[in-house]
């Protein structure tokens, strides 16, 4: 009995006393930017990379004196890829922390639910990684610099047609992953437009570890090219199993391939794969080289697309704040920032030159078609 009471009291106490409101702003001399993303869970790798990219940008900006004399502070908000939590995080950012802008969410699903909330609260929400269709449509406060798959895939298909001269291929879908299902449809459309037949479709589930059955089925189809539409983990596994069972055809990928972890896991099995990226890490441009060196030094790893796009996202938002000339978080000010952002053209980022066209929240920027050659990222010529 007593133990139970003590337990209950401890629990209640811990609830009352704990949880310092992480978002208490030293409002006067700081600019608060909220970052909602998945820092835990299976997509955590993407979210962590995004945060790291933001940190690098933040340090650079603050090191140069901040924006309009004030330093930036980035608030972390983990949603664990759960829409419910994402909604809570964003609501908290807006209501309690009174952030000036929000960067996120990481994934398409979580962005879809949070964008309307930010938009209604007249707060800019900028996603540097979600690639689903229509995320910014009819939401003037929502922007993104991640390449929508619908935009990037036709380039991949075109490049594949030229290089591999394929007439048909097999698509592998992760049937319980919204990103993959969406992407499969996009690929099908692009392939139809390019006159390439879809020989067959095979599916697997997120979290699967055994792909032997699927790959054996694939082998019997004798595919010319295989398209993978999932995240890096399962894609790497599929690649390994494919090569193990003797399937050596080229592989076309997607945004999921943009984390170097896939190379780490798949190793040689990934050789020759082709996919689209918003960032080319071996870009000789000095700006990119500097960025790569910074990330290498700080985190002991090479930056991936998420690092780069997040870095650019914060840089662009800072530019917008600078142009708007306001730092206090009020609806009028935030609207000024939004208006300033919408007019940005030819912004030089490490992931390409960004331009926002009127009425469109998706940044126009270059698509890099990458191929893995000799274990390194190279541009497909």
């Amino acid at each position: 009995m007593k133990r139970g009471i003590i337990l209950a009291i401890c629990f209640l106490l811990s609830i009352c006393l704990s949880g310092p409101n992480q978002g208490i702003s030293s409002a006067a001399d700081e600019i608060l930017i909220g970052n909602v993303s998945c820092l835990t869970g299976t997509a955590a790798q993407y979210g962590i990379s995004t945060y790291e990219g933001l940190e690098v940008a933040m340090e650079e900006i603050n090191g140069a004196g901040g924006i309009l004399g004030k330093k930036i502070h980035i608030l972390k908000g983990d949603d664990s890829a759960d829409p419910r939590q994402a909604v809570n995080v964003v609501q908290k950012f807006i209501t309690k922390d009174k952030v000036l802008a929000i960067i996120g969410a990481e994934l398409t699903g979580t962005t879809r639910v949070t964008a309307p909330i930010s938009n209604a609260a007249q707060t800019v929400q900028f996603t540097a990684s979600a690639t689903g269709a229509g995320l910014t449509d009819n939401l003037p406060f929502v922007f993104r610099n991640a390449l929508p798959e619908a935009y990037a895939i036709p380039f991949v298909v075109e490049a594949a047609k030229k290089k591999f001269k394929a007439e048909s291929l097999v698509i592998i879908t992760s049937y319980n992953l919204d990103y993959s299902v969406d992407l499969t449809k996009i690929y099908e459309k692009a392939l139809a437009a390019a006159g390439i037949k879809v020989q067959d479709k095979i599916s697997y589930a997120e979290g699967d570890i055994d792909f032997s059955a699927q790959v054996s089925k694939l082998k019997a189809l004798k595919p010319e090219i295989v398209v993978m539409t999932g995240y890096y983990q399962e894609s790497a596994q599929l690649m390994i199993e494919m090569r193990k069972q003797g399937i050596n055809c080229p592989i076309l990928g997607s945004n999921g391939f943009n984390d170097p972890k896939i190379l780490e896991l798949a190793g040689k099995a990934m050789e020759g794969s082709v996919w689209a990226s918003g960032f080319f890490p071996n870009n000789p441009d000095p700006k990119v080289r500097r960025f790569v060196a910074k990330v290498q030094e700080k985190y002991k790893k090479k930056p991936n697309q998420f690092h780069a796009q997040a870095y650019d996202a914060l840089m662009i938002i800072s530019e917008g704040i600078k142009r708007a000339g306001v730092t206090e978080s009020t609806p009028e000010n935030r609207t000024k920032i939004r208006d300033a952002l919408a007019k940005i053209t030819n912004f030089p980022g490490v992931s390409g030159t960004h331009t926002f066209k009127p009425g469109k929240g998706d940044a126009e920027k270059s698509v890099f078609i990458l191929i893995l050659k000799d274990g390194k990222y190279a541009l497909l010529d």
Partner: protein, 287 residues
Amino acid sequence: MLAQQLVNGLTLGSTYALVALGFTLVFGILGMINFAHGEIFMLGAYIALLLVTMGGFSIFWALIGGMVGAALLGMIIERVSFRPLRNVSILAPLISTIGLSIFLRSLAQIIFGAESTRFPVSIKTEFFQLGPFQISLLQIVILAISFGLMAIFQAFIKKTKIGKAMRATSESLYTAGLLGIPVDRIILLSFAVASALGGVAGILLGLNFNAISPLMGKMVGLKGLTIIILGGMGNITGAMVGGLFLGFVEVLSVGYLTSSYRDAVAFALMFLVLLIRPTGLFGRVVR
């Protein structure tokens, strides 16, 4: 393709069988389910990984080490979730182990990262062609170890004194106690053996697919559960046959039907069995 799928099914099934054996041993003796068994499977693989990458041990010693580690983990779980709750209710250990499985999974995610880690393979990828069957050296090794362990386990349970004590305890805890069997120790030992088997299965799976992840125990654990219900809870032969059966069914459903229903297959089968013949296809050990 059929031949190849059969080989796939056999390899997968033997892994499932090992996991199911662990479940069934615990259930046979205590009448309870260790929901965290899937996590033991996963942690066994990680222990082996650490031994190989950080300790520089060969895969052979990593296997042994993984088994021992898993066994220890199982014993800890017994002391935390089963012994103190034995007389509380049938569901208390279930709930406790559900919590443990969540705990262990997040612990692994925090320590090892949420995504897959490469499992260093030290067995060459050589293929042998036996008629229409193409089987790799790796798969042969895995099958050898799995079936070898199952055979050893069968012998252990049937022939040794401890094995007999375990069977007596599973028949009736009370009577076994009266007969002078150190019931508490036997139960602890059962957990150790069950967990060791689960741990090995994890390592073998990691070997087979070159990668392990903190989440790999979740589905496998749940499927292990379905297997013992299919095969009869507490029934050792049932667990082994059930495991192989599920391996085949899953692989064939992927190969010939659509692969997006794969996970549902195991559970649909189990549901049906529960409705029609709750004691499983082979019946269960009488308590």
